[in-house]
């Protein structure tokens, strides 16, 4: 696996004879961001459709607690982060199915509970904060081989999911009851969607950090929503925005010497405002 990644990275160096692409860490970062950016956007489309933008916030903040737990118990923090994130995600979906509370109330409770738990752990064990730094702000330049492999499999899973279930998910988003009468197993899709979204959030944390994960997922999809007139365009605008913003953000961050994740999100945001402007022109 490591060899394959190295081969791909030298391929990148060969096809992109630029200064920024001459560094090994930049080649890896490029690979990581191409794998995770568009996948995050593809999930973001449905997250906005389901009106659960807050969900990824809850997961990313619970990831913080998961990492703290991992460091505390000297376990691999990546593992505890994913496990704890999945736990919180499944609890949210479960409660939503059983209770009449609205989704943002449930998410709000889950969100604050997990953050509080994380702070309790961290405050009780001083010295943990230093390790958390790279998770809060993200560090795509330090992404390892294991993570790139994980991102690859996750990206494949996300696009397979969006290929087979896109139509059904959109139908569910318009109206769940009608979708059910058309034979859509809404419960199953909701669980699969939440699990995949949790995994995307956890792996995106390495790229953009806890604070900006939601932006990476939502902003490209918001651009897609602004520019498109039908559900086919929605997909393409969202995913292509993410791809272009990821690559150009990475390159800009190299020359500006700025944090990569934040720069990518900033480029996404620039696209968003341009999209609003274009839409304004279309209407006029």
């Amino acid at each position: 696996m490591a060899e394959l990644i190295n081969t791909i990275c030298s391929g990148i160096g060969f096809f992109l004879p630029f200064e920024w692409a001459s560094h090994d860490f930049m080649r890896r970062a490029l690979l990581a961001i191409i794998l995770i950016g568009p996948a995050a956007a593809a999930m973001g489309i449905h997250m906005i459709n389901f009106r659960m933008s807050f969900f990824s916030d809850a997961i990313s903040h619970s990831a913080f607690t998961g990492i703290a737990l991992g460091i505390l118990m000297s376990f691999n923090p990546l593992l505890t982060m994913v496990a704890f994130g999945l736990l919180v995600g499944l609890i949210i979906v479960r409660i939503r199915k059983r209770s009449k509370l609205s989704i943002d109330t449930i998410i709000g409770v889950a969100f604050s509970t997990s953050v509080a738990l994380g702070i309790v752990i961290i405050s009780a064990r001083r010295g943990l904060t230093r390790n958390l730094h790279s998770f809060i702000y993200g560090d795509v330049l330090a992404v390892g081989e294991v993570e790139i492999v994980l991102m690859f499999f996750l990206s494949v899973a996300v696009f397979a999911f969006t290929f087979y279930m896109y139509n059904r998910l959109v139908m569910m988003a318009v109206n769940e009851e009608v979708a059910k009468t058309r034979g859509v197993n809404t419960s199953l899709y909701e669980y699969i969607f939440s699990i995949l979204l949790t995994l995307v959030v956890c792996l995106s944390i390495r790229v953009v950090g806890i604070l900006l994960v939601t932006a990476l997922i939502i902003v490209p999809a918001a651009v897609g929503r602004t520019l498109s007139k039908n559900v086919g365009e929605l997909f393409w605008f969202s995913v292509l925005t993410a791809l272009v913003a990821s690559i150009s953000g990475l390159i800009l961050s190299y020359y500006w010497d700025s944090a990569t994740g934040a720069t990518v999100v900033l480029v996404c945001a620039a696209f968003f405002f341009m999209a609003q402007f274009v839409k304004g022109l279309r209407k006029a």
Partner: protein, 274 residues
């Protein structure tokens, strides 16, 4: 001679086809639906005859929509719901079409009417294009409900009546044996309601599906339904429309005095009760 013979054969097969298409009588036995502690429906026993129009009436919270959900198999229940008269007719699950009362959705979603119809007809994601036959089928269904001019419109920009027709077009896509309508004309303006009633009448005459109609509007019920089911957690009364809809039973069910009046909107299509 041969000619006559083949004609009579055709007539028999036609009769047989009509019989076949009309095999979905819904028999409900001791149906009870509970959610947590609250009992939404209790010991409901009823028969919804095939090919006829049955109206379900009752006050708010009587469990009318719950009964529809149970018929569609969307909620757990105790008791039995059967879709056939004799065991010989029990082949598979019937196609059930459903037009909900009023759908609450995100009106800013970039989805066209045509998109919405095509979504349920093809597995291939719409971002890789729509299959030609799916598009044609969807357009035919829209034409059937006088909504083909809406195909390219955004779903969120439709009026109540237009949306209702699009949902009807969607429910017709799979040629339903049973069509369930939940409050079809509430929240729709007069003209829209009239158009909808006309469409349903025409479709029902042509396809002879079993039609179940939940309605508050007693005038719609009197002008359309053959059969009426008064529901208030359990069946209060059941029978032919003319027999059931008397002042006494209505005030019993609704708990107030309601006068009957002729329905102007769809009365042209009033069908004689058999």
């Amino acid at each position: 001679m041969m000619h006559v013979h083949s004609e009579s054969k055709a007539a028999t097969s036609e009769k047989k086809a009509a019989f076949e298409s009309c095999r979905h009588t819904i028999t409900i036995k001791d149906l009870t639906v509970k959610i947590g502690e609250s009992v939404l429906l209790e010991n409901v026993n009823a028969t919804i005859h095939c090919g006829k129009t049955t109206a379900i009436i009752g006050p708010n919270g009587a469990g009318k929509s719950t009964l529809l959900s149970a018929i569609m198999g969307l909620i757990p229940y105790e008791g039995e719901i059967e879709f056939c008269q004799t065991t010989a007719h029990c082949v598979g699950v019937p196609n059930i079409g459903f037009v909900p009362q009023r759908i609450d959705f995100d009106r800013g979603m970039p989805i066209t009417v045509l998109d919405y119809l095509c979504l349920s007809q093809q597995r291939r994601p719409l971002w890789l294009g729509v299959k030609k036959e799916v598009k044609e089928k969807s357009m035919r269904s829209l034409e059937r409900v006088a909504a083909d001019h809406l195909a390219k419109r955004a779903l969120g920009k439709l009026s109540g009546g237009e949306l209702q027709r699009v949902l009807l077009a969607l429910s017709l896509m799979n040629d339903p044996n049973i069509l369930l309508l939940d409050e079809p004309v509430s929240g729709v303006d007069m003209a829209g309601g009239e158009l909808f009633c006309d469409l349903i009448e025409d479709l029902h005459k042509e396809k002879r599906f079993t039609l179940v109609l939940v309605s508050h509007d007693l005038s719609v019920v009197t002008s359309h339904a053959d059969h009426v089911l008064c529901l208030n957690r359990t069946v209060q009364c059941e029978g032919k429309t003319v027999d059931v809809l008397t002042k006494e039973t209505i005030s019993d069910v609704f708990g107030l005095h309601v006068g009957l009046y002729g329905h102007k909107q769809c009365s042209d299509h009033h069908e004689e009760m058999s």
